[in-house]
Each structure stands twice: as C-alpha cells, then as structure tokens.
C-alpha cells in the first residue's frame, strides 16, 4: 500500500556547497540519500514529492559541516499482510519462487512450475520487518491469484 507522508531528516552539508545553490544541493542530496531506502517503520521511500520546511542550520565544531533539519513529503510503499500485489518472478528454485513488486521481495513456497519473468498476482500472508528491510511471503492459492502473464506471451 502506498502512503503520502511527511518525514523529517537531519541533513549534513559540506561547507563547499554553501552559496547560491545551497537549497538545491540540499534537496538533491536528500533525494540521493533517501529515495529507494527502506525503513521498517515506514516502508520503502519511493519518491520525494516536495519540501515542507528547511530549518536553521547548525554549524558543527571542528568540521564546519552544517546540519539542517529537513521536513519533506514523500511517497512510501509498505506491504501488509493480506494485501494483493502484482509481482514479477525473479527466481525459481525447488522450494518455490521469488518475486518482486517494486522494491519489495516476496517468496512464495511450493510453486515450482512457474517461469522466471512471468507476472503473478499474489497475496501477502506474512511480512518480516526490521529496521532496514521488509521481506514478504505470499501465496497464489486463492481466488483470482496466480500467473497473469507468461514471459513467452508478451
């Protein structure tokens, strides 16, 4: 499921970026640092959509680095138990197959007769979340679930 939320982060900026482009530098660094990461708390940060507020910077003793508290709007993706997702099969072994739905990886056990790169619709039956990653297990045994397109067909 996707959410559009406000998050906050303290950004450290090297003194060489101080100047006219400070704000642009700050935002591009924020994007580089945050987009594509995953926090167990909020899920995968898909994209930053705007800056809410940049607070006053504090100059660090000794290094000259400046820390800015930045509030930003972003889209996050967080899978939930019971959620139906469409995913692409990335690997098949004799225990089942792995699939990806955007940034999230899902393992489906006991289905070995599935081709790599096919698309499946699956239901999440369990999630394992820790501070920096989310892993899901799913099933395709339910109504309207299963392979929705073969790699050969497309």
């Amino acid at each position: 499921m996707f959410f559009h939320i406000v998050l906050e982060r303290n950004m450290q900026l090297h003194p060489r970026h101080f100047g006219r482009e400070l704000r642009e530098k700050l935002v591009s660094k924020l994007m580089k640092d945050v987009e594509g990461t995953c926090s167990g708390r909020h899920g995968f940060v898909v994209a930053i959509t705007g800056i809410e507020d940049i607070g006053k910077g504090i100059i660090r003793d000794g290094t000259g680095f400046v820390t800015f508290p930045v509030k930003y709007l972003c889209v996050v993706f967080r899978p939930f138990k019971g959620e139906i997702l469409e995913a692409t099969v990335t690997m098949v072994n004799k225990m089942g197959f792995f699939a990806e739905a955007g940034p999230v990886q899902i393992f489906v056990s006991n289905h070995v007769k599935i081709q790599k790169d096919s698309e499946v619709r699956l239901k999440i039956i369990g999630t394992r979340v820790n501070a920096t990653e989310i892993f899901c297990i799913g099933t395709i045994k339910d109504d309207f679930l299963g392979v929705i397109s073969d790699p050969a067909g497309s």
């Binding site: 939320i5 998050l7 167990g40 708390r41 909020h42 967080r78 138990k81 690997m91 072994n93 004799k94 225990m95 089942g96 792995f98 990886q105 393992f107 056990s109 006991n110 070995v112 039956i125 369990g126 999630t127 394992r128 979340v129 820790n130 892993f135 297990i137 099933t139 045994k141 339910d142």
Partner: protein, 462 residues
Amino acid sequence: MSLESFNKLVKLTARAFYDDITAKGDNQPKSGRSDNRGIAVVVLDALTRRQWVREEDLAKDLKLHLKQLRRTLRFFEEEKLVTRDHRKETAKGAKAYSAAVAATADSLPGREGEEKIKLHTHSYCCLDYAQIHDVVRYRLHRMRKKLKDELDNKNTVQEYVCPKCGKRYNALDAIRLISFEDDGFHCESCNTELVAESDKLASQDIGDGDDNARRRRREKLRDLLQKLEVELKPLTDILHRVKDLEAPDYGTLQAWELRASAVARASNSDPNANDSSRSGMSGTPMPFLGETKIEVAFSGVEEKEIKAESAPLKQLPPWMIKEGMNLTNEQRGVVMQESNADGTSLSMDDQKDEKKLINQEVDDKKKLQEEYFKAYYEALLQQQRAQEATNIKEDPSIDNFPTDADPSNSRKRQREDDEEGDVEWEEETPAPVETFKVDLNVEAAEPSGDDEDDDGIDWEEG
C-alpha cells in the same frame, strides 16, 4: 431438562478426545500394570452423575487413589471442562457439604465419619457445562480449520529443517537462506541443504517438494478430514442438539450449597442439621428464599392452553419446543407424532401418515366399537382439518394443536406414542471414536505468530 443432552455431550467428548489420556506424569515409564488409560473417561462419566462433589468422596466412590484423581481433575481443569474449588474447612464446613449432598443426591450415601476432620483443605469439583460446550465446539473448529488450511495450502508458512543439525527455518527466512552456489536453501549454521518440512499430521515421509509427495499428502489430508466428519458425527449431532438449550449450571460451590440446604430445609424440617450447616458457611445466616422463578404469561392461545390443562405437566407451545428437548408427550401435545421434531412441517406426507395410523386403529379388532366410532369421527374431523390446512398453509402452528375431541381417546394414542416414541429419544452411546490427535496448542508455536510480532511496529505514529 437439558441435563441429559449435556451429559451425553460430556460422555461423547470424553470418549472422543480423552480416551487415551493417562493420569501419569510424562517422566514415568508406562508399564502394562500402571497403564491407566481410560481413567479420564471414567472420571468424566462419574461427574455427569454428580453435581459438586468433594474429591475425596469421588476418589472413594471410584476406588481411585486421591492423587491420581487429582491429577486427572487438574488436567480437566486445564482443559476447561471442570471447575474446582478449594477451601480450608472445619468439621462444620464439611458438614455443610454433606448436608447439601444429602439434600440433592438420591444415590450417594450419607457420610458420618467426616466430623473428625480438623482444618483441612478440601477440594471440590463440578462439570462446567456451558464451558464444555464452548471448548468442544472450539476444538472441532480448530481441527477442521487446521486440516482445511493445510489442504488448501492457505496461509500456512512453509517450514524448513536442516537434516544435519535440526535447525528450523520458515519461509520468512527465505531470503537469508538462498545459497549463491545452487539457488537452494542452506542452513546458516552448517550450510547443509535444507528440506521442506512436510506437515506433521499428514505424512511421515519427508516431502522433498516433488509433486507426488504433495499429492499423497493432500489425499491423506482429505481422508483425515472425511474421517473426522464421520467419526465425530455423534458429537456434532449432540452439539447441534444442545445448541439452543441452556446449559445446566450449578453455580459456585457456595451458591450450590446454599441452594441445596434451602431445599433440604423446605423438604425436611430438621433444624439442627441446617443451622449447623449454615453457620459453617458464614457468620450471619442469610434468609434463602428459594430459587427465583419468573413466569411470563403471553396473551393469546398459549395462555388459554395452560389454563385449560391443569395437569402437572403443561403442554409447551410449539414455538417453545426445540430440537433436543426431552419432553413427555403431554408437553409436546398429543399430536406429536404427526408433527416433525421441529414442529413446523406442514407437508402432505405427515397427514397421510396420520390417516394410515387411523386406519390401523380402525382395523384393530380388539378396539371397542365405541372407540371405532370415535376414531371414525376423528378421521372425519381430520379430513376436514386437512382441507382447512391446505387452505391456510401459512400458519405453521396449526398442525401442532391438540385436536382430539375425546380426551380418553387421546390418552390411548399417547400411550402408543410413548412406546414408539422412546426409540427416537434414546440413542446408544456410540463406540468410542478413534482418537484424533490434533494439538490445539500448536498454533502458538506456528511461525505466523512471530511475523505477528514483526508486524507489531506501529505505523500510525510516524
């Protein structure tokens, strides 16, 4: 009224689920002589014939060691079938119980030796019928759900086990277990290739993930599910029957004793026994007014019926008769055999049966001619009624009304009902069902539990 059905439920439950429970600790080896399987059934059966009972007395009655009985009872307490009460009591307190027993039980002999007891902790036990009903239903539900889920492979988290060191994993660990050499899952500790843990119920052979093993497993599961339905049918039947009945409830030990002694006081006026028993219970004697009875009179047909019949057994209105109630024919109304148990059927078949029966009566040479005429008139009446019934089919209660004009005739037919009707209400205790081992506690150990924990992170707070 419902006690009989509930007792049957208890007995069936005992045979279905507790047949092979031993009262032994697990550490003690089982030898042929000390094998006491079936003890659980005996104890439960004995409890169906009692209300609150002191455990020493029960042990004596059953000729069991108190320790052994206690162990069994403790087990049933954990299983939520039995409530127990422990209290320190003097001779007086013990006497209160004895008095209560003397008042309620027609079978248990009175005990005189108890006066010597100084201050001992006594334990009492009693069946908790309402809870038994819930527990059994829950147990069956869990059994079915477990099998069905497994059959559908639904929501079950596949487990993997290391054949070398026995370490266990589940599908949620999958990403950590992939080996880069061969895409298989390998043990984190010893790097042995893991095998999928096939389910414990279904098969002994380790399913190595191939389709044949899976198919065999499914067949086994389906068999098991079918067996469950067939073998536990008596139990599900009785559950269905008691579904709408009120469970017998003896209350707490104290409430039960108070009630029992009040009854005793009402029936025999021996002031000594009652006084001592009450003062044993509590310091201030409480006036006990007997069981509160509430009678609700509905206006309309039912009221008239009750008034008309002043016999000790009142006829119950059809809407009060539920499946599973043990009623006499008076209570059911004389035309009981014409109606189905649920009392709502209005099919023409019923009425045909009715006529056949009347024909039998007519043919019977031993009948007096007078009765012949009565029956004849009744048949006429019946025919009229049949016509009426077809006209007003909407009214379901019409079939249940007593219609016989002549009471003497109706009594005779009742007696016949009695003879035939007995068959319907007496069921044989079925042969002990083959036990079916499903560990109800398994779920707690299921890995789904630990992903629940993982999910516990609060999302809203961000």
